[in-house]
């Protein structure tokens, strides 16, 4: 507002605004620079950015917008994603039915490799210290065999979105391209772009954006440009991921897949089903333990994963202190540990080479999602602990809301870059995301406690929720929807 005020306060502005006087110049200026003027410039070609552009292109109301995508990576490699069905990428996400429905609405779902997507119908979550357990299955209220979520490789998702975008056309894609600088435009004789972000690309082009979308991840340059702060903390935890092979298709067989999550004092470990006997691992643990896990031989790594779902916290603590021999220790301890085999995932028998990796876990929340001619979506707006598998779904919720907001603005003649037009997006998503971030953060902290009164209390709480059908259904609905219903 300040900029605008001072601009208008300049002496002589009236003269410049005189249409008749400037008419010819304006025409000329516009024709020379209009190639670089876009309605939407999206920085970041991840799931959030690609979904947004696809949603805009697929909707007849917004398909008239001139849109550009800037992505640092080579997108041709992404769109040509192809792996044999015996191999899976280690970066997978859990898509809620609401997110999947949205992807279907914008026509992208059919472009995914469906044989690489695994739906699951049951979820087993338990406390590593007390064994208190909660079971979610798709039975209650909403009909039998309800899908809780879909496991999908991030690459499959982005590849499918890109194919849909190619089908729709009309997006100027600048891939293999970095954002060099973002600055405000200038007021010239011809037009006043002093409030428009101008994105300078490594290829030398400059794009003026009516609405600049920050879909550029946790360290969003767009967020930095717009001066939007973000608050949060690092968990001092790393997420260890791997693509695993199990002894079979799972206890429920091919058509009733189960996701497992055990809360260990260092963080939760989750085994999420992929097609066939494949599974995806996400193990939140301390950086030191993550380093040990990555250093283990495949057989000991496999033993550690099996141990993490079966053995006591004491045994696990010990196994993290030895550089090798986990397999042998596991086979001994399994004999003396009471395990109901069907309450834990089937035994891991293989780990796909080169898939054991880790990344630091953080909580971040931008102070706001919108600025003048700027909107943040996905990880640029919020980064969450992966324990509830909500990260990608929050991003999809953002995209759905922002696409709807832009559609409303376009159909009512609003400037889609003005904060007035963007307000509904921010007010719809901010509080909803904030609650989910907070709940997941509290869950992490609750289960990081190893002793004291909280341990039995949280078990009582979990058992109580498990016993109370309606309450459990509520949590389940929240977990499988995009979360906005929390409000």
């Amino acid at each position: 507002m300040l900029a605008r005020r001072s601009l208008l306060g300049k002496p002589g502005f009236i003269c410049r605004s005189c249409v008749r006087q400037c008419q010819s110049q304006l025409t000329r200026a516009y024709s020379t620079s209009k190639d670089n003027i876009y309605d939407v410039v999206c920085v970041g070609g991840g799931p959030a950015g690609l979904s947004l552009l696809t949603a805009l292109r697929a909707n007849p109301v917004t398909s008239g917008l001139r849109v550009a995508l800037i992505e640092a990576q080579d997108l041709s490699k992404v769109s040509s994603f192809a792996l044999p069905i015996t191999q899976f990428s280690n970066r997978c996400s859990s898509l809620t039915p609401a997110s999947a429905q949205f992807l279907d609405t914008i026509g992208a779902w059919t472009h995914m490799k469906r044989e690489r997507i695994q739906d699951y119908h049951e979820m087993q979550v338990w406390d590593g210290l007390t064994d208190a357990r909660i079971e979610f299955d798709g039975q209650p209220s909403s009909g039998a065999g309800k899908t809780l979520a879909y496991m999908i490789e991030n690459l499959n998702l982005t590849s499918g979105l890109l194919k849909r975008l190619e089908e729709l056309g009309g997006v100027d894609i600048f891939d293999n391209t970095k954002v060099q600088n973002i600055d405000l435009g200038k007021e010239t004789e011809e037009m006043d772009l002093s409030e428009w972000p101008i994105v300078e690309l490594s290829g030398g082009q400059s794009l003026a954006a009516r609405l600049l979308i920050g879909a550029d991840g946790a360290n969003s340059p767009v967020r930095a440009f717009s001066g939007i702060g973000s608050s949060g903390w690092d968990y001092g935890r790393h997420g260890v991921v791997a693509s695993l092979q199990l002894e079979g298709d799972g206890w429920g067989g091919e058509f009733n897949k189960i996701a497992y999550q055990r809360f260990l004092p260092t963080g939760p470990i989750a085994m999420l089903p992929l097609p066939g006997n494949h599974a995806s691992l996400v193990w939140s643990t301390t950086p030191e333990k993550a380093a040990l896990l990555k250093s283990l031989s495949p057989k000991d790594f496999i033993a550690m994963v099996n141990a993490a779902f079966r053995l006591s916290a004491v045994d696990l603590g010990y196994l993290h202190t030895v550089p090798e021999g986990q397999e042998e220790e596991l086979s001994w301890r399994t004999q003396h540990t009471h395990i109901n085999a069907e309450t834990v995932p089937q035994t891991v028998v293989g780990v796909q080479e080169g898939t054991v990796a880790s990344f630091p876990l953080k909580l971040r929340h931008a102070d706001t999602y919108i600025g003048e001619r700027v909107a943040l979506i996905g990880d640029a707006a919020h980064t969450i602990h992966p324990l509830a598998g909500q990260g990608l779904n929050q991003g999809q919720g953002d995209v759905q809301s922002l696409a709807k907001t832009i559609e409303y603005a376009v159909s009512h003649g609003q400037d889609i870059g003005s904060t007035l037009s963007l307000e509904p997006y921010s007010s719809e998503r901010y509080a909803a995301n904030h609650i989910i971030l907070g709940v997941c953060d509290k869950l992490h902290k609750l289960y990081a406690v190893e002793s004291g009164p909280l341990v039995p209390l949280r078990s009582i709480g979990l058992k109580a929720v498990n016993a109370l059908g309606p309450l459990k259904n509520f949590f389940m609905e929240q977990a499988s929807a995009n979360g906005s219903k929390l409000l």
């Binding site: 064994d131 004491v314 540990t337």
Partner: protein, 294 residues
């Protein structure tokens, strides 16, 4: 020398483990909730989890705990009653805690894995007598000889349901004589109570704590001595020292006992026998003086 001391009988122990394993795995439980999971009445007592195991109902267990502890209070030399008290009160929590203390320690884990047993068959007492004067083995056998006891006097664990925890209790019981050797506390009631106090602070097994009440049955002078010297020593060293359950005694027989104590962070208590002897002599002299008419 090495060959003269029969170490753990790994083969035998492993064989026994195999045997136990087959009988146990379906019902045995390492988690603390295992005992509560077992519901049965005296009419359909389940199969034992290991040879010698006597599954008890909760009521039986409570009755055993009360009865055996009351009786052993009045007759502290009834080892069988003390043992029964120990077993009846070790669950649900305490024996698992002790087992976890072993699992958290590399040596403790090896003991659990190999399950060595201490008896005159596994330890050659004559060989121990040939060890250097201040070695653990010599101290142990010296203590056995002085007290006139044998490593074979320990009864088998019967009332703990989890087979691994039953071994932990067995191990604790068999190592008890080594604790005497380590601390030098005699087998008299005063020494026994002091050692139980030390064990309680170190292992948290309830039976050892209950045994401290036996101090009430001691003579007044003993009780004063216990309260001023041995109880503070026991609590300080038991709590501060490392878990003595994790000492692989069979491997430490040749080590210097003072070094082992230092390693465990345990001070040697004042020699109870010396104190008692001095007091007795003092008493005797007083008696003599009285008799002489002073």
């Amino acid at each position: 020398m090495e060959a003269a001391i029969p170490r753990i009988r790994a083969v035998a122990a492993a064989g026994q483990t195999q045997l136990l394993r087959s009988a146990v795995c379906a019902t045995c439980a390492s988690s603390s909730s295992s005992s509560s999971r077992r519901h049965f009445s005296v009419f359909n007592r389940p199969q034992p989890n290991y040879p010698g195991h006597v599954p008890l109902t909760k009521i039986e267990r409570a009755g055993l705990a009360v009865g055996a502890s009351v009786m052993s209070f009045f007759d502290p030399y009834r080892h069988d009653l003390i043992a029964a008290t120990g077993e009846a009160t070790a669950t649900p929590y305490f024996i698992y805690r002790l087992r976890d203390a072993m699992l958290a320690d590399p040596t403790g884990r090896r003991i659990l894995r190999q399950r060595p047993l201490i008896s005159s068959k596994t330890l050659s007492l004559p060989a121990l007598r040939n060890l250097p004067a201040n070695s653990v083995g010599r101290a142990y056998v010296g203590w056995l000889d002085r007290e006139g006891v044998s490593p074979d006097t320990r009864s088998r664990v019967r009332y703990i349901d989890d087979e691994e925890c039953a071994y932990v209790m067995q191990r604790y019981r068999e190592c008890h004589d080594f604790y005497h050797a380590l601390t030098g506390l005699p087998i008299v009631r005063e020494g026994e109570v002091a050692l139980k106090a030390f064990e309680f602070a170190n292992t948290l097994l309830p039976m050892t704590g209950l045994s401290i009440f036996a101090a009430a049955t001691m003579k007044r002078g003993e009780r004063q001595r216990f309260a001023s010297i041995y109880l503070p020593w026991a609590i300080r060293n038991g709590a501060r020292g490392k878990d003595v359950i994790n000492v692989f005694w069979e491997e430490r027989l040749e080590d210097d006992v003072d070094e082992l104590r230092a390693e465990l962070g345990i001070e040697r208590p004042p020699d109870m026998r010396d104190i008692r002897k001095r007091e007795r002599e003092q008493k005797k002299r007083l008696q003599e003086l009285k008799e002489r008419g002073f």
